[in-house]
């Protein structure tokens, strides 16, 4: 399912953390990675230096049992990344999250955000936080809108190669305008979360529904911190209201705010059937 990954490499990533990320990818059952570096225009000498660095990284990544290929191609990073991902038929894109100052992001934007916005594949953003150093995946939180993203996300969550032990299914809703409607809303939400939890129960030791109200991006970050999860999984809806078109959708905001790894699955994304991946197993 998540066996082939297109990994963006900027060569600014700390080596140790990058290796932890390669280790983490094993939790998804990843076997093959394509390290993609997209430089601006470069001369032959620079090309040779980059190749050397990538070679070293690919050698280290190989130690995790990964089949590694490297690619260097000039252009616009998200476009090139998408092109190579399409050419190599990768299942998802992986990025190491390099945090930037608010000022710099406001002035120059954030390339990772562009990748996220333009990608039709699932995007995994590795962000272990400042002091956490682990490549294990124990606890996952899936933030659902109980709408159209469930169909896209659930197949990934229940796949047997997805090795987490505990799953939290979180829904962040909007309080209804009156107590009676609110009670009905909550009941409906809890029923739907229970139904989702039952659908996922065979794949985890424990599945726990969590229901709360407020701004989705704030509550997801808060609940993820409360439960101290290793990974947040969210769907990405293609329908955007005017506000999210300006400030970014919840999925686009989360990597900036959450301080932990995030897996974003577009609702358009098609889950690759395991039989198509037989050759890799």
């Amino acid at each position: 399912m998540l066996q082939r990954a297109a990994v963006k490499i900027s060569l600014k990533e700390p080596r140790k953390k990058l290796m932890e990320m390669f280790g983490f990818l094993g939790n998804f059952g990843t076997r093959e990675i394509h390290l993609i570096h997209v430089p601006p225009k470069i001369n032959a000498q620079q090309q040779a230096d980059i190749e050397q660095k990538l070679e070293k990284i690919s050698k280290d990544a190989g130690n995790f049992g990964l089949n590694v290929q490297t690619h260097i191609r000039c252009g616009h990073v998200p476009v090139v990344l998408n092109e190579i991902a399409e050419e190599k038929k990768t299942d998802y894109t992986a990025l190491y999250w390099l945090s930037r100052s608010l000022f710099r992001t406001a002035l120059f934007g954030h390339i990772e955000s562009d990748i996220l916005r333009l990608s039709n594949l699932p995007v995994f953003i590795y962000n272990p936080g400042l002091f956490k150093s682990t490549n294990g995946l124990e606890e996952v939180m899936y933030a659902t809108d109980l709408k159209n993203t469930d169909a896209a996300v659930l197949p990934y969550l229940v796949d047997r190669r997805f090795t987490a032990r505990r799953l939290y299914i979180l829904h962040v809703g909007e309080r209804a305008p009156d107590p009676d409607t609110e009670e009905m809303r909550r009941k409906r939400v809890l029923d739907s979360l229970d139904r989702l939890a039952r659908a996922c129960s065979h794949a985890y030791d424990s599945v726990q529904p969590v229901e709360t109200i407020g701004a989705p991006h704030k509550q997801i970050v808060k609940q993820a911190a409360l439960q101290n999860v290793d990974l947040i999984v969210v769907g990405k809806s293609e329908k955007h209201d005017p506000l999210s078109q300006m400030v970014g959708s919840t999925a686009e905001i989360l990597p900036h705010r959450s301080g932990r790894s995030v897996f974003i699955i577009p609702s358009l994304c098609e889950f690759s059937a395991p039989e198509n991946q037989q050759g890799l197993q």
């Binding site: 309080r175 209804a176 409607t181 009905m184």
Partner: protein, 508 residues
């Protein structure tokens, strides 16, 4: 009596008693304290009042013109409880009424003689400024303030099935905490503003009625005659309040509007008709073209004091009245759509007010400019007798004075009646038909307080306390706009296109 169910009633009654005792036994201290509070608020937060009031106007227009406009303030099948005429009459009686009778002529004259520093007093420019700012102070802005308050209350109570209380509007924001301290605080503050406002209006208004009557009847205006007037008004408004909205209030409001229109028509026909129409058209054009500009101007370099004394005072006063007027207007607007409600409340009373100002202001200007009638000087001497002085230049002046006093009395009765109803409603957890006992308690509290403070002094101090309550209420009302938008957005997102019985059953 269950204390928990009456917590707002008990706390507000006790707190009001304390303030009133302070007014009786230490009226100077209350005067000093309230004057300091009032001047601090107006000096430091005046700009906030301007912005908030302008935002209320924008919000009202948005609500009327947006997709939410066709939502009914009630269930989808509900019909309005009152006819258009009955509804518009009550709107006008509760929202403006009394003040308009006096200020309709006195305010343009005051501005004419005392404009801000950058205008020469007594000039044509001052006259134009006076009319424009009279329209401004009594135009769409006060109604936008009332609309915001009443729209929120009406939506959350009649459509969402919650009690008609200001605290109910905050459910989307604070959830069940509306049944705790934050909710009680909001409702108690609303009771405060309403009691202080109505007590001062009753006291000061009784004095004005007294001086009007004394000018045509053979008696001398004294404290004793004022107290008798308060007693008579109290007896009438309490009887009306006990009879109920459908009969007492509606009949009186309709009578009043008819009387007002009669008076207006007489003055228009017997007065300088051409001048009045010219004043109306040119001031209306000035008002429309400069609405945005004057809405957000504090005259910071020259004339700030004038803005603080007039515009900011009015804005604070309208806001402090909004809990009472808003709740009352909400209770008579059930069954109307948002668009119908806003366009009705924004246009009908405003147009009538503009005509009123044009007729009385225009007549006063005509007499002042052409005949040197000394109206402006009379107003400067005593605002309450200026109108009666104007009548002295017309035939049947005694009949006109009597008619005006009658109008004043009925407007007073309708305002006090509405206030008693609203106070009882707010302190009975929003019961649609509040207990008669509470109506009597609030009616007596208001009347006795007005009488005592008239005797002991401290009425103006109480008025300033009411205005001070406008500051937290401006913030509360801005939050109410947000809550209403959230409620409507929720309805549109999750409940539209559902069967009527299924409303609220959608999940997110």
């Amino acid at each position: 009596m269950n204390l928990k169910n009456n917590i707002v009633f008990v706390i507000s009654l006790l707190a009001i008693l304390v303030v009133i005792l302070a007014g009786i036994f230490s009226s100077e201290a209350l005067d000093r304290g309230s004057a300091w509070l009032h001047s601090e608020i107006i000096s430091n937060f005046g700009w906030f009042y301007l912005i908030a009031t302008f935002l209320f106007l924008v919000f009202s227009l948005y609500m009327a013109l947006s997709r939410y406009g066709h939502i009914k303030l009630g269930m989808d099948h509900e019909k309005p409880r009152f006819s258009y005429f009955g509804w518009a009459s009550m709107l006008f009686a509760a929202g403006m009424g009394i003040g308009l009778i006096f200020w309709g002529m006195a305010e343009p004259m005051s501005h004419y003689m005392n404009p801000p520093g950058y205008i020469e007093p007594g000039t044509p420019e001052a006259a134009r400024f006076a009319m424009l700012h009279s329209f401004f102070h009594w135009g769409v802005h006060p109604w936008a303030v009332y609309i915001v308050m009443s729209l929120c209350i009406a939506y959350f109570s009649f459509r969402r099935g919650m009690p008609p209380l200001i605290s109910s509007c905050f459910y989307p924001l604070i959830g069940n905490r509306i049944y705790g301290f934050p909710g009680y605080f909001i409702d108690i503050l609303a009771v405060f503003a309403t009691v202080f406002g109505i007590v001062t209006s009753l006291g000061l208004g009784a004095m004005q009625i007294n001086s009007g009557l004394a000018s045509i009847l053979p008696f001398e205006a004294s404290l004793f005659s004022t107290l008798i007037i308060i007693g008579i008004i109290t007896a009438i408004f309490m009887a009306s309040s006990i009879i109920g909205l459908d009969r007492g209030m509606q009949i009186m409001s309709k009578t009043n509007i008819l009387l007002a229109v009669l008076l207006l028509a007489f003055m228009l026909l017997m007065g300088p008709t051409n001048m009045i129409l010219n004043v109306f058209i040119s001031t209306f054009s000035d008002y429309v073209t400069s609405l945005f500009n004057i809405s957000l101007t504090t005259h910071p370099f020259i004339g700030l004091q004038w803005t603080q004394d007039w515009t900011l005072f009015y804005w604070a006063w309208w806001i402090s009245w909004s809990p009472f007027v808003g709740l009352f207007i909400a209770s008579i607007s059930r069954g109307r759509t948002i668009r119908e409600f806003i366009s009705g409340a924004l246009l009908v009373p405003t147009l009538l007010t503009f005509v009123w100002f044009s007729v009385f202001g225009g007549t006063a200007f005509s007499l002042e400019l052409n005949n040197g009638a000394g109206i402006a000087a009379a107003v400067a001497q005593d605002v309450s007798t200026g109108l009666f002085h104007l009548y002295s230049f017309y035939p049947f002046s005694e009949v006109l004075t009597l008619l005006t006093v009658l109008l004043l009395v009925i407007f007073f009765v309708t305002s006090a009646d509405a206030a008693t109803f609203v106070l009882s409603l707010m302190t009975s957890r929003g019961k649609a038909d509040p207990p008669t006992g509470k109506k009597i308690i609030w009616g007596l509290t208001v009347a006795v307080t007005a009488a005592i403070l008239l005797f002991a002094g401290g009425l103006e101090g109480l008025q300033r306390m009411a205005i001070a309550a406008a500051l937290p209420f401006s913030a509360i009302m801005l939050l109410m706009c947000f809550c209403l938008l959230r409620g409507l957005r929720y309805e549109f997102r999750y409940e539209r296109n559902k069967e009527p019985g299924q409303r609220g059953s959608a999940i997110q």
